[in-house]
Amino acid sequence: MLRLRFHGRGGQGAKVASRVLGTAAFLDGYNAQDFPLYGAEKRGAPITAFTRISRENIMERGVISEPDIVIVMDETLLSDPQAMPLSGLKKGGIIFVNTPNSPLETKERYNIADHVITLDITKISLDMIGNPVLSGLAAAVASRIVGIGEDAFRGAVEKELSGIISDRELLVKNTEAALYCYNAIMPVQIKTAESIREGENVITIPFEIALVSSPAINATGNTPLRRTGNWRVFRPVWDYEVCTRCMTCVARCPDGCIHVNEDGYPYADYDNCKGCLICVEECPAKAINKVREMHSRSGEGDR
């Protein structure tokens, strides 16, 4: 049995990706199981979804804590303590990372010992679809890695996405971009140890008193520590030659991430700006540009 775990951010399509992969495996003659982990998700929050593929009947249930393959649809999740996409990965397992960097660079940057495959599927989706929607593309990568046939994969993408996308043209673009990704990845030999769970494996969760299960928050105003800046696909960048200091962007930011310097010019708190780009849309002087985020992360404080 192959166990895959998808890590993405809400809105990127991790849940649908696991679904497309499951359907593709089924159409290719395997047994398959796919499901997301539900929590209090919001757009941008870390999301996990799972797919099991096997020639035999799949009796295993529940979340996959020891995957053979991990599909990381957002590079910033690798350093997110809430997501921890590499946790439990089997020895000899495979990690796919959506990044413009090479596998070697990625291995070094995140200190990964296992087999890393990379492809900038965000760029492909922006170029070919026009939106950073990665469901079909991530499923394509995963399907190719596990060795699912192209016909089965194409059938799965069309079946699953046609239920979500009503626009025929957009559906075709999604399928084309997905197949492009499918063919951009080399299939690999997966050599993880098959660990079969033996005997009873019932997990019991001890009773928690309310003080433990819903503790009081005694701090005030500490959400900036969460650093939602890594949600961004694009960052807003001000052109101060054009900016008229009208304060529109400051008034329009839902998160209050735009501050004003001593000279009255606005600047963004990139640590927490989620990249909604309302400021770009609303600026009457068109002084704000959107720039593709490359997430060089940490220590960024452009003022």
Binding site: K42, L225, T228, T248, P254, C276
Partner: protein, 311 residues
Amino acid sequence: MDTATIRSIRELPAEENMLPGTPACAGCGGLLTLRHCLKALGEKIVIVNAAGCFTLLSIYPFTPFKNSWLYTAMACAPAGAQGVRDALDILIKKGKIEPEEDLKVVVLTGDGSAYDMALSSTSGAIYRNLDFYYICYDNEAYGNTGFQHSGATPFASRTATTPPGRTRPVGSQLQKKNLFDIWNSHRPPYLATISPAYPVDLMNKFRKAEQFKGPKLFISHTPCPPGWGFDPSNSVRLAKLSVETGLWPLKESVHGKVEHTFVPKKFKPVEDYLKEQEKFAHLFKPVRQEDTLKSMQEMVNGYWRRYKLLP
């Protein structure tokens, strides 16, 4: 609180009483409304939050607020507010806290709570003339759980539970409840509709409400990027369009007497607003549902005609 009216966004208070880093979606219209409301209300408040999207704002160990925050079930935030108000009054009366340390009690709920589940507890609170604020962020469905139909869902909206299909191509067949009129029938001291795209109007309404003791109620129309299906960058544009097309009238009511605070000089066609959203896409594709579109425009015209404000 400063009660002078303001004229432009440059006069909005600079203090932020809600910090960034919340789990709310990028481009959340409700969050923008809340940010401006909290600028108006200041730090000395207690928020009583019914279950909904904004429950997620405070998740252990994080909170974006400088003020206290209490979480209740969906139906009972106004009842929770009564308890908090009573406790503060008793503490002041007993001399345990100084009158200057008093806090404003602010109920914060989504439309699922305000329009449906908490309707009776809100009615009770207004009836008892409870001294509190109510902020409803209305994104026209149960957004937190995947956009299911609520009493605030407008006619013809696609939701998770009213998908347009062969037998019912329209989507939701029910009309949005008129919560403003329901609340207004109680004749509260102050009631207003607000919009995140009109922060000056919002700020002035809060400043006006300040003078009244008793219920001060606000309903904000709040664009929801994932639920309505549009790019987050268009959140404010859609909030503006809903006002400019006449779908979301900006108005206030003092002791039951209604006045519009903003009347568009020229109303944009409702279609301009509808066609921007995936939740109304079925009205245009694959077949244009002409009769439905016409009836929606007629509903809006009818509203403004009733107030004799249609040019």
